[in-house]
């Protein structure tokens, strides 16, 4: 027996795509005006600034730093809560079989558009209305949260088992009752997990939002970078990293506990 290989599928498309990618990379390098001489200094510059920041962190401003960190976390928290309150009903409407199809499509579009815009841009837009206050940051994070929470929410509802939904409907349940007793018991662990994850994202994003001056640790970081007080900047970075890692760890532990399920007698509703 000698096997006859089936004809190989055409590879022109693959080759075409590969060559286009190569050309784009080459043109990009060539057109971006890179100062290769300065690039050579980069490693030594990095080392110099790291030394400036971390050789002698200035702990005298620690109290202020912790207060501003607290403000950032507050901003993140308020933003998360607002985001949840708005996104959750919207994600129900955007899920298959609960809202009118045009509303469903429109909401999914809105979520996608919001996700395409970084929180800092949203903050700059909101800024013109609410001014340079932490509320601006919280609102920006809330709007940004609608994009992600809305999408995760309707995807999770779409993936919920249909059986309990049919059972609630057969027992005479209305749409809201179907959502409460047919969907929510299955979807709630995922929702809680999304909410915590979004809080983690917001903690990090709130520091970035400080760049435009809405307050919090990011604001302080920008100021002291401009004052070139590298010791304070170093201390601030240490605080930011420790706080972020700590919150991530706590929230991550809670999320694992939620998704892996609780012991039999410990019910979440």
């Amino acid at each position: 027996m000698s096997a006859v290989a089936p004809p190989r599928p055409s590879r022109t498309r693959t080759r075409l795509v590969a060559s286009v990618v190569c050309v784009v990379v080459v043109v990009a390098f060539w057109s971006v005006d890179i100062n290769w001489a300065r690039l050579g200094n980069l490693p030594s510059e990095i080392v110099r600034y790291l030394w400036l920041m971390f050789s002698a962190p200035d702990w005298s401003k620690l109290g202020e730093a912790l207060y501003q960190t607290w403000r950032s976390v507050e901003m993140a928290w308020v933003g998360t809560v607002f985001g949840i309150i708005i996104a959750t009903p919207l994600s129900f409407l955007a899920a298959k079989g609960f809202g009118p199809p045009p509303v469903q499509a429109a909401l999914r579009g809105v979520f996608a558009v919001i996700r395409a815009v970084p929180e800092i841009i949203i903050a700059i837009i909101i800024l013109s209305v609410t001014g340079l206050t932490p509320l601006t940051g919280a609102l920006a994070l809330a709007v940004g949260g609608i994009g992600t929470l809305g999408k995760w929410g309707f995807e999770s509802i779409d993936g919920v088992p249909r059986g309990p939904i049919e059972a609630v409907r057969a027992a005479g349940g209305s749409t809201s009752q179907v959502l409460r007793w047919g969907v929510w018991p299955s979807a709630s662990p995922e929702f809680l997990s999304f909410w915590l994850y979004r809080f983690e994202i917001n903690v990090r994003a709130s520091a970035v939002l400080g760049l435009i001056g809405v307050g919090g640790i990011g604001d302080m970081l920008t100021s002291y970078t401009q004052y070139r007080q590298w010791g304070v900047v170093g201390m601030l970075l240490i605080v930011v990293v420790i706080v972020t890692i700590a919150l991530d760890a706590i929230s991550g532990a809670i999320r694992r506990r939620i998704t892996e399920g609780a012991p039999v007698h410990d019910l979440e509703r």
């Binding site: 609630v168 409907r169 027992a171 005479g172 009752q177 007793w181 018991p185 007698h265 019910l267």
Partner: protein, 272 residues
């Protein structure tokens, strides 16, 4: 509830059982598949009916038209004196609240308690705001506990539904239907996911609902011996049409072969 003929000498039921009247009922799905072709039948209050047919014969569609989960395309369907073709929205939900349904896959919300699952049966009988907040009344909870007691798993009330075995889950589903205080119970292949001893236990529960509470019970089955043992009347469906309607006592193997359109095989009986 208009046309109740005095019924069956059963233990005084909580509510009078319902009849089902079908006249030329057809169901065509949006994708063009015709599931039911001009079906006419009368099921009297308090009957225990087995509906048999191969998968795809339309028995699932038949049972779902009776509580309006599948809308009828043409014909007339009256359940307990209420016309289903006209019922919409609130009226349809109220009707469904009077009809219990049991599914092949149990359809429990696995991540919540057995009690919460049984209380789903009270949704149509409770103000919406209460159900959304989970503020069940003591009376509703008592109905749920009584229903669990009737199927013998009251002790599991606080357990997670997913922690129960298949047979126990189906009993929870029966308790859910019972807590509706239904006039009619529909069961769609209730034992197809269970092992033979459990299947018999669940079928006995269904029969007790019929004999002790007097509730009309309609059960979809594909197994010949179960249909014979637990029904008093047999309706055979093939390709969306009624090909047999009569007493189970007259349903010989030849009748089943006629319904199935082929000879009876080992897979058509539960106890081989």
């Amino acid at each position: 509830m208009t046309q109740h003929t005095a019924e069956v000498g059963a233990v005084a039921p909580a509510s009078a059982p319902w009849s089902i009247r079908m006249r030329d009922v057809s169901v065509r799905y949006p994708n063009g598949v015709v599931a039911l072709k001009s079906i006419s039948m009368d099921i009297e209050p308090g009957e225990m009916v087995s509906v048999v047919g191969l998968s795809g014969s339309g028995k699932s569609s038949l049972i779902r038209t009776i509580n309006g989960l599948v809308p009828i395309t043409s014909g007339q369907l009256t359940v307990g004196g209420h016309s289903l073709a006209e019922a919409k929205g609130r009226e349809l939900r109220r009707l469904r609240g009077e009809v219990g349904m049991i599914f092949q896959g149990f359809n429990l919300a696995g991540r919540t308690s057995v009690l919460n699952n049984v209380l789903v049966g009270r949704l149509a009988h409770t103000p919406t705001w209460r159900t959304l907040l989970g503020l069940h009344t003591a009376a509703d909870k008592q109905i749920a506990f009584d229903a669990l007691e009737r199927v013998g798993i009251l002790a599991k009330a606080w357990d997670r539904a997913s922690s129960l075995s298949g047979g126990q889950q189906q009993r929870v589903a029966i308790a859910r239907a019972l807590s509706q205080e239904p006039h009619l119970v529909l069961a769609d292949e209730p034992v197809a996911s269970l092992d033979p001893p459990t299947a018999h236990a669940v079928m006995r529960d269904l029969r007790r609902i019929n004999t002790e509470l007097g509730i009309t019970v309609l059960t979809n089955l594909h197994l010949v011996d179960l249909a014979r043992e637990y029904g008093t009347r047999l309706i055979g469906l093939r390709a969306g049409e009624v090909v047999y309607d009569g007493s189970v006592d007259d349903a010989t193997d030849a009748v089943f072969e006629e319904i199935y359109g082929r000879s009876i095989r080992a897979e058509d009986v539960l106890d081989r």
